[in-house]
């Protein structure tokens, strides 16, 4: 089975700065893949390229068999995306926003699915609140719901748990594991290593835009190392290089 994500020598420059430098990686179906790296390592740029939000300076990426640069809208039709910073539109209520997403994605059962998410993420009482008045945590819940509303086979999430309280973090982690068990694929970007160690099956480490490691988490842990120690070592290597 071909990988669901294939990046080939993916590079992105912003002026003189090379945010991502010739990164090649494969993500297999059914994995919970963690893209790790310190602040400014190129994680968000990588996700934005993989979802067609920005075009690579050179190199290519295929997602679900489609060339992202050539067919960005078709890719976004199939995948779910939670960006790091973007918020839902200010002047729609939470319920209206999910209704908007359902209509844009042409979902027949949008209302029922939205109802399930309000219930699951425990923010039913915020249904009729304008998005601009929601707390960060609730906005994150809403963004989570919109990303999974169409039941995508692949979801790309930038910092998935950063605004959730510990109880909600646990619930969401369990959801992600179950999603992968059911055949879905998750690609997350995070710098919280404990989360990656707990839920990821595979990780890649970016440092200063370069890929310094890619492989299964089990392999790292089998070497009797914690992911944190391994990460620091890898980043140190990257820095030396």
């Amino acid at each position: 089975m071909p990988p669901v994500i294939q990046a080939e020598q993916l590079t992105r420059r912003f002026g003189d700065v090379t945010a991502v430098n010739q990164v090649s990686l494969d993500v297999q179906a059914g994995s919970l893949f963690g893209l790790l790296g310190p602040n400014g390592s190129g994680k968000t740029t990588m996700i934005r390229m993989l979802t067609g939000q920005i075009r690579p300076t050179s190199g290519s990426a295929r997602v679900l068999g489609m060339d992202v640069a050539a067919e960005p809208v078709a890719v976004r039709e199939k995948v779910g995306i939670i960006p790091e910073q973007e918020s839902p539109p200010s002047f729609l209520t939470a319920e209206e926003y999910l209704s908007f997403v359902a209509k844009v994605r042409r979902l027949d059962e949008g209302e029922e699915r939205a109802g399930w998410w309000f219930d699951f993420l425990e923010f039913e009482e915020k249904r009729d609140v304008l998005c601009k008045d929601l707390s960060r945590g609730t906005r994150q819940k809403l963004m989570f719901a919109q990303a999974f509303l169409h039941r995508p086979v692949l979801a790309l999430i930038d910092e998935p748990l950063i605004n959730f309280d510990p109880v909600m973090q646990q619930k969401v982690k369990e959801y992600l594991r179950e999603y992968v068990r059911d055949g879905g694929t998750i690609f997350i970007s995070t710098h919280i290593l404990e989360i990656a160690e707990e839920i990821c099956t595979d990780v890649a480490i970016l440092h200063l835009g370069n890929l310094v490691h890619a492989g299964p988490v089990a392999g790292i842990l089998a070497g009797k190392k914690h992911l944190t120690g391994f990460f620091l070592e890898a980043v140190g290597k990257g820095a030396d290089a």
Binding site: G52, Q53, P83, F91, E95, L130
Partner: protein, 468 residues
């Protein structure tokens, strides 16, 4: 306090120069002065058709409004910037992170707004007025008095908004009670007490007739409002969460004939709930149109009424094209990049929403034709206004994509926009002035408009994915 004031002044400058570009923004006071100088020169001619008292009142009302808008923008600045730049904050909102009290920060904020906008708007306007005196023949004493009364009018608007926001922060009921009491007092004083209504707006009364008590009253009101705002400031706002029943579904249903019904329904709700539909229609469309109509009316003695109407319709079309910016100011492209929508979809949907707003243009132009006793000109004038609006919108989309409010401050874009629309507009106005029937030729502008919009898809898709 002094350091905070200086930092806030710098911050305000950077907000504006980031939005509009340093040079463009630095030239803004010069532009204000030039417009004021032109107005000053035209004043004797305007005074022939419009009573001098009315002109004076309108200018004072404009300064009052300007003060209120500055105050309002200051208080809503974070939200405005968040819409435009994503995450943003200001020193004024940092009381929880700086070792300074809310009151102290707010006092510096009031001082900053006062000084900054006096320098940016009020003083350049007064300088322009003064520079026009050799041609207008206005005595220096008149300019001196206008300088004082207009400054006081501006500060009255500013301090009133600060007071109202402080009251609102305590309780909406308190705000309603104070406003109700104010209206009641005004009715009692003018209706029962027989007071001249101009004294309700002391800066204007001062302009009409200088007196020390009126000057002290104007100053006293500003001082009182500012002092109460600072003294009773609270950072806790009531009713922070706004709740609404689901209007999106029914609205999208009503628009289901359109390909981009969900996006259009969102645009309508954005405009409506932000207060933008009423506010923008009033201040960005009807107010400029009113000013243009008054200015054109001055030419009534040398131009036939129908010709004035045609000129007005053409200019109204250009102003109507700016409705496209109303629709784009709520969105950053990022809010759509995780949905299966391309740049072309967004441009098409915004253009469809723009068309949805055009009854405002049609009613304004057609209505004015009928009200001014030219019912026969209503249809050609309306067709001309709508065609120019669609064409100018097409030009704007081609030149600025989904970023009109930012890109329009680029000198290159501004010049290209003038080149695209200027000759076409002048040609159509000239032709329609010969015979109103030629106004119908303007419908052919739909073709280049649609072509420009089509060309803009690839142009902006490439730009956005390369630079964002």
């Amino acid at each position: 306090m002094r350091d905070l004031f200086v930092a806030m002044m710098k911050e305000e400058w950077r907000v504006h120069s980031t939005m509009f570009g340093s040079v463009s923004f630095a030239l803004f006071p010069v532009l204000i002065a030039a417009i004021a100088r032109m107005g000053s020169v035209l004043l004797p001619y305007l005074a022939d058709t419009i009573p001098g008292g009315l002109i004076g009142f309108l200018v004072h009302a404009m300064f009052l409004l300007m003060g209120a808008m500055v105050g309002g923008f200051g208080l809503l600045g974070r939200e405005v910037m968040n819409r435009r730049f994503g995450q943003a904050s200001l020193l004024a909102y940092s009381s929880r992170t700086l070792p300074l009290s809310d009151r102290r920060i707010f006092a510096a904020f009031v001082a900053k707004d006062t000084v900054y906008y006096l320098l940016l708007w009020v003083f350049p306007f007064l300088a322009g007025l003064a520079l026009g005196t050799p041609l207008s023949g206005l005595p220096p004493s008149f300019v001196g008095l206008a300088a004082l009364s207009l400054t006081l009018a501006f500060l009255t608007g500013l301090s009133t908004v600060f007071l109202l926001s402080t009251l609102y922060a305590h309780s909406v009921k308190l705000l309603a009670a104070v406003m109700g009491a104010g209206v009641l007092l005004a009715i009692l004083l003018t209706g029962v007490g027989g007071m001249n209504p101009q004294f309700l707006f002391p800066p204007y009364a001062l302009f009409r007739g200088w007196s020390v008590p009126l000057f002290l009253l104007s100053l006293g009101i500003i001082t009182l409002f500012s002092a109460v705002s600072i003294q009773y400031l609270t950072a806790e706002f009531p009713d922070r969460e706004k709740r609404f029943a689901n209007r999106f579904g029914p609205l999208a249903g009503q628009l289901r004939g359109f390909r981009y019904a969900p996006l259009m329904a969102k645009d309508v709700l954005d405009l409506w709930r932000s207060g933008g539909l009423v506010g923008q229609t009033l201040f960005s469309f009807l107010l400029p149109m009113g000013i243009i109509w008054i200015t054109l009316s001055v030419l009534g003695r040398i131009m036939p009424q129908a010709q004035i109407l045609v000129t007005f319709a053409g200019v109204a079309g250009v102003i109507a094209a700016t409705m496209y910016t109303w629709l784009t100011e709520f969105d950053t492209l990022g809010a759509y990049t995780f949905l299966p929508l391309g740049t072309a979809d967004l441009i098409r949907s915004k253009f469809a929403s723009f068309l949805l707003l055009q009854p405002i243009t049609a009613v304004s132009v057609g209505g004015l034709a009928i009200l001014t006793g030219n019912p026969g000109a209503a249809l050609p004038a309306t067709v001309l206004a709508l065609s120019v609006a669609v064409y100018a919108c097409g030009v704007m989309i081609f030149l600025t994509g989904l970023w009109p409010a930012v890109m329009v401050y680029s000198v290159r874009v501004f010049a290209a926009s003038l080149l695209f629309t200027g000759p076409v507009l002048l040609g159509l106005i000239a032709l329609s002035s010969v015979s109103l029937i030629y106004a119908f030729l303007s419908v052919f502008l739909f073709l280049p408009a649609l072509l420009l919009i089509r060309l803009s898809f690839r142009r902006w898709e490439t730009w956005e994915r390369a630079f964002l």
